[in-house]
């Protein structure tokens, strides 16, 4: 009797180990996707795919990037990832933990000029490790109704911006709705828009990687030297022109308050639109780049690789994952996805987003006046979001920029490998020549 029980247990265990072979003979692949605004859309895509063929079953895992990181360490990564492309994910690229996608139709269909943006985070030599799936452009969101009521024009220079803010304050309207409680909103919005509107982000970080351990008060580039002016202007705005309770408001509070018209401007990306629409479906919104200098030529919008597709090298179902990858890159799927999420489709000849709320950014995107956020171009070991949050909460800007320089030099000291993956992209040039 005991022996039968033991045998049954062994069989059960063995069955569990044969992961990927479900009862109906389909190959099951684990697909991670955790962008919560788009879960519903992607669930629909997965269901359509599962219904369209009999060989592969896709299971969507929405547990988020931390769980994915842990699964890589355990040697059990997902079979296909569609994830926000940043340093957290890009280290899998740098250490060649992702398989080469260069032979896929999907790789052939994406625009070549986007690769430099991907390469800013590092490369695995000879491989196309990740493919862009959705490019997001972000800038100031403004309430068109409030601007019209107050007779305001979209500001093009720093002085015009201050004039707009003063007029709004005089009219009893809060100029900016800020959500300092969530540090990422400070990094993504205030910090990135301020820096990106002031200096050439690519040149700056090329210089920082080149200086490495020498970064400090005397290096040719440094946070304390190059960021002092943008940060001073940022803290001027956050001190005088935001809601009083900003320190205790988070992202969700901000979307709700802005949808109720509690402020004229909001520093968020297009992902916030789908949240704002839930409470204010008819609110007229527009976007414009945050002017940080006296020259309208410096205006630029922040872009990020909101989603990139990757197939880990350790996946045991690479072929099945590739099949689903090709499905995802079919024009009707990828264009519908980006249209629904207000993103720019990274495939050749794809149309620009038709949504009028994005319209204010399309000319800048077409002109190549774009930058990737300086808060995400820093390896995550340096808590930039926390530092940015400390600055807008009234911390000493000079002190925190000095801390960031020291952190950078220390990181370069102990991890020279990160410097090998030095970005060499010429985004602005390629952008202009292509579009």
């Amino acid at each position: 009797m005991r022996r039968t029980v033991a045998a049954a247990a062994v069989i059960a265990l063995g069955g569990a180990l044969l992961a990927g072979c479900s009862a109906d003979g389909r190959e099951t692949i684990r697909f991670t996707f955790s962008k919560r605004e788009a879960l519903e859309f992607m669930s629909g895509v997965v269901a359509d795919y599962n219904a369209s063929q009999d060989d592969v079953r896709v299971e969507m895992d929405t547990s988020g990037v931390d769980v994915v990181s842990a699964s890589f360490v355990r040697g059990n990564p997902p079979d296909l990832m569609l994830a926000n492309y940043n340093y957290e994910v890009a280290r899998f690229v740098q250490r060649c933990a992702l398989s080469d996608l260069s032979g896929t139709d999907a790789a052939g269909s994406t625009r070549d000029d986007l690769q430099p943006l991907m390469d800013q985070y590092g490369v695995c030599e000879g491989r196309t490790s990740a493919l862009p799936y959705s490019v997001m452009a972000a800038s100031v969101i403004y309430n068109k109704q409030i601007f019209a009521e107050q007779g305001l024009e979209v500001p093009q220079t720093w002085d015009e911006l201050l004039a707009v803010c003063d007029k709004l304050v005089a009219a009893g309207v809060t100029p900016f709705y800020a959500t300092f409680k969530d540090d990422w909103t400070v990094g993504q919005g205030w910090y990135d828009y301020s820096v990106g509107g002031s200096l050439d982000v690519i040149d700056f970080f090329d210089g920082m990687w080149a200086e490495g351990t020498n970064v400090g008060p005397d290096s040719s580039v440094s946070f304390q030297k190059d960021f002092a002016e943008p940060m001073a202007r940022m803290t001027q705005l956050t001190a005088d022109y935001v809601n009083d309770d900003a320190p205790s408001r988070g992202y969700g509070d901000g979307n709700l308050a802005f949808s109720k018209g509690e402020a004229a401007m909001y520093l968020q990306g297009p992902w916030a639109f789908s949240e704002i629409v839930k409470t204010a479906p008819d609110l007229e919104l527009g976007t414009f780049p945050l002017p940080m200098t006296d020259s309208p030529d410096d205006l630029a919008v922040r872009v990020n690789m909101d989603l990139a597709a990757m197939i880990p090298e350790a996946s045991r179902h690479k072929d099945a994952a590739r099949d689903f990858l090709e499905y995802l890159y079919q024009p009707e799927v990828i264009e519908a996805y980006n249209e629904s999420q207000l993103g720019f489709t990274p495939t050749k000849d794809a149309p620009a987003p038709s949504d009028p709320r994005i319209g204010g950014m399309i000319p800048y995107y077409d002109d190549g006046r774009i930058y990737q956020g300086p808060s995400v171009l820093v390896p995550k070991t340096i808590p930039v979001f926390n530092y940015a949050q400390a600055m807008v909460l009234g911390g000493d800007v000079g002190y925190y920029l000095d801390v960031m320089d020291r952190d950078w030099a220390r990181m370069a000291f102990r991890q020279p490998v990160a410097g090998d993956a030095e970005p060499t992209g010429q985004v602005d040039e390629t952008k202009e020549s292509d579009r």
Binding site: E88, R91, F180, P247, S248, N386, A390
Partner: protein, 303 residues
């Protein structure tokens, strides 16, 4: 981190006799020894090994000697996380033990509704830390400022969590709220073990109630105080879930605990560096355990 608990539990059971030990006892030890080795010792040794490399947890790595340790000791963020964690732990241990002891004294004296009150005071213990943290997060961010505005108290109008100098107080309050019931139960057990006749005798000799408390009761439960302080301190050094739910280490980096810094390293591709940090923390924890062990022995002999 886990080393603290093991050393402490080993320490509370000193070898008694020199007689030959029945082999069956070793058999009892075997399962936990195997589990402990596989789940704690082996990963611990692997982690210490990787602290001398530039690994990010996956892929290729190289030996880089003591580079991580050199960087670690010059990193003010790491130093700050140690200062915060120890300051927070000490403050919380004091608050928890004082409040829990007074509650225990109250709940063991002859009062009405004793059972009902005990139940109410124990409820926080059964709620998960992260849920407590989110509830208090809401209270601190919305309810308290709203009350401050309504009552016209200016310093209450901004969230305690948004103030880099005061956010740690909020964490102490919430952690204490969760930790007090467990500590209180141990004190109640201790107070009930104090024989009634010593207090009666003191009463006859004319000792006042406070005198009885501080001269008779407190010395008799001294062993329980030591246990509560050690267990509490050990737990608070690992502070993680409540801080994540309340402040996420902010504002700025004001409330990043050691455990948070280490875990952030796993996610941020800083595996080897934070392994070095964990190794240092491990050594610190061993030193503290040794100190506490010697203290416990002294106390046990006293009482």
């Amino acid at each position: 981190m886990t080393a603290t608990s093991t050393l402490v539990t080993q320490g509370t059971r000193p070898p008694r006799s020199r007689r030959r030990v029945e082999p069956i006892y070793y058999l009892f030890l075997l399962p936990s020894l195997i589990l402990f080795t596989l789940a704690i010792t082996v990963p611990g040794v692997i982690g210490i090994f990787f602290s001398f490399t530039d690994s990010i947890g996956i892929g290729d790595w190289n030996f880089i000697g003591f580079t991580n340790y050199i960087a670690l000791f010059s990193d003010p963020a790491i130093l700050q996380s140690y200062l915060f964690t120890f300051g927070f732990s000490i403050a919380t241990v004091i608050v928890v033990n004082v409040v829990a002891f007074l509650l225990a004294v109250g709940l063991t004296s002859r009062i009405r509704l004793k059972t009902g009150l005990r139940t109410i005071f124990v409820i926080p213990m059964v709620i998960s830390g992260i849920i407590i943290a989110y509830v208090f997060n809401f209270l601190f961010s919305n309810s308290v400022p709203a009350a401050g505005t309504a009552l016209g108290i200016p310093w209450l109008e901004t969230s305690l969590l948004a103030n880099p100098d005061l956010a740690w107080i909020a964490i102490v309050i919430v952690t204490a709220w969760q930790a007090i019931p467990g500590t209180m139960l141990i004190y109640i057990a201790g107070l009930l073990s104090v024989p009634g006749d010593v207090n009666e005798a003191a009463d006859l000799d004319g000792a006042s109630k406070p005198q009885q408390l501080f001269r008779i009761t407190v010395p008799l439960v001294a062993g329980y105080v030591v246990i509560n302080v050690i267990l509490g301190f050990k737990g608070f050094l690992n502070a993680y879930d409540i801080i994540v739910g309340l402040t996420g280490g902010g504002p700025g980096t004001a409330t990043r605990s050691i455990a948070m810094t280490i875990i952030a390293g796993f996610n941020g591709g800083d595996y080897a560096y934070q392994m070095a940090n964990a190794t240092v923390f491990f050594v610190v924890a061993i030193l503290i355990s040794l100190l506490q062990l010697s203290l416990t022995r002294g106390r046990n002999q006293l009482s």
